[in-house]
Structure formats: C-alpha cells, structure tokens
Symmetry: C2
DNA sequence: CCTCGCTATGTGCATAATGCATATAGTATA
DNA sequence: TATACTATATGCATTATGCACATAGCGAGG
C-alpha cells in the first residue's frame, strides 16, 4: 500500500536543472527577484505544489556562485527589500548550452514515445 | 578553472528515471539480462561514458524491489550465470504512466526552446 | 498597540538518483 | 598461469531536490 503510494509519487516531471534553465530563460528577458520569479514560473508548467520557495532561493544562490547571475539588493518602500537577479554573460552562454542539451533530450523522448507506439500496435 | 570544468560537466542529459524508462521499454519487447542490456542501451542515446554498469545493475534491483520486473537465474555453459529480467504487469502499467509524463516533459521542453528562439530573434 | 496576513529571503535536515571505484567470480585462450 | 572477456554486485560520495521551519518588514483592522 505504502509502496504503491511511493511508486506513484516517484513519477515526477523532474529533469536535471529544469528549474535553473527556466530561471535563466526568464532572466534573459528581464531582471527579477525570487518572490516574483515564483509566480512567473507557472508559465513553464510549474504547478503550485511542484514549486517550493526554499528550493527556488537556493537554486538562485547556487547560480550566483557559478556566476550565471549577479544580484543586488533593492530597497523597498513597502515590504522587505528584494534581491534583484540579473543574468551574466556566462549565464547567457550557459542557457545557450542548455538549449542544445534540451534539443537532444527532446530527440531521446521522441524516440522513446515512438518506440512505445510501435509496441502498442502489436 | 576547476569551477569552469564542473560547470561544464553539470550539463548532462540527465532526466529523472530515464534509465529505468529505457529498461522498461527494452524489457517490454523481450526479456534480457544486465550485461546484454548495457549494449542495447546505445539505441537510446547512451554513450559508453554516459553509462555505468554499477548503476545499471542497481537500477534493475530497485525495479525488482518495486515489482516492475522479476528475475531468475539462467545457468550458462560458457561464462557466468545470468540474471534474466522479465517485465511484470505492474511494470507495463508503470511504463504507460511514464509515457504520459514524457509527453508532458516534451511539451515543456518545446515551450522552452520556442521561448529561446523568440528571444534570439530580437 | 497588537495580531494577522502578505511580502520576501533564507537554513537544516533528509532523501533519492546517480557516478566512480572497486570486488568477485566463471570461462576461454594463449 | 596469466590475461581478457563475461557477468553481477557493493561502498562511498556527490548532487539535486523536497519539506519543514526561521526570520523579518510592512500594512490593515480590531
């Protein structure tokens, strides 16, 4: 019973660095901050329960460590200050590299799906 | 320098449970064993350095724990015995579920790539 | 004034998937 | 008897991610 539940939960949309890639994609268009990015991510298929604020903030910090983004505090008249993230040159290069990986992922997935359709025919 | 190297290495094709899905796909066609599956996986885009035998065997055992496959030893006249894996009913159901996830992954990837092309235009 | 809710960022701990190195062992062949 | 190939497996570390919780500013309403 419990095993079944776990089995079901294990089927996620998880793809290596997917969140990071989405963030780079948003940030290449415009600079933004964590709390705002949380809402923008729904465009990329993130449901509310799929997205965790803690994870998001940690991913952003990791990206900054790797010099993919840079951040600066922005004072706010109403509410707490915001850490604004801006994509770097390296970040743009990184996104470009990821796009190539994504295209290969896409081919692999297509191959799998076609394979499955073939099997189903018989 | 070292950081750069890590950065580059992090860009993998890794997708959650991709190996498991490929194995289910092979095994739904025909039963097989670890060492043989190692070679068959090249069809699914696994390069030699991308595929690790230890990982493969461990994934197979995990799949058996979850009742997605069942195994039986087959004596060999030449070379060591083989553990033959066969897909189960639950395994077939699992593969079917994964296919749905893959289709959603595909849509998400397409969305990202289109997004990127749009940005590039400007 | 004080609490509640929203905005905003962050940490601690655990788990799950995977990689790398290594161990073990049977068989064939040179 | 040494080497190469077949075949399966474990130990340890790393990495990504999830869940729960902590912190703190600010505004509205009682």
């Amino acid at each position: 019973m419990e095993k079944q539940m776990n089995c079901h939960n294990r089927k996620t949309h998880k793809m290596d660095h997917y969140l990071e890639i989405c963030l780079l994609m948003i940030l290449i268009k415009t600079s933004s901050y964590g709390y705002d990015l949380l809402t923008n991510l729904s465009d990329f298929g993130f449901t509310k329960d799929e997205l965790n604020a803690g994870t998001l903030y940690r991913v952003l910090r990791r990206m900054e460590e790797h010099d993919l983004v840079s951040s600066a505090w922005e004072a706010s008249s109403q509410g707490p200050d915001k850490r604004i993230y801006e994509i770097t040159i390296l970040g743009k290069k990184e996104l470009n590299d990821w796009i190539h990986i994504l295209k290969e992922r896409q081919e692999r997935i297509s191959f799998l799906i076609n394979c499955y359709e073939e099997v189903k025919k018989q």
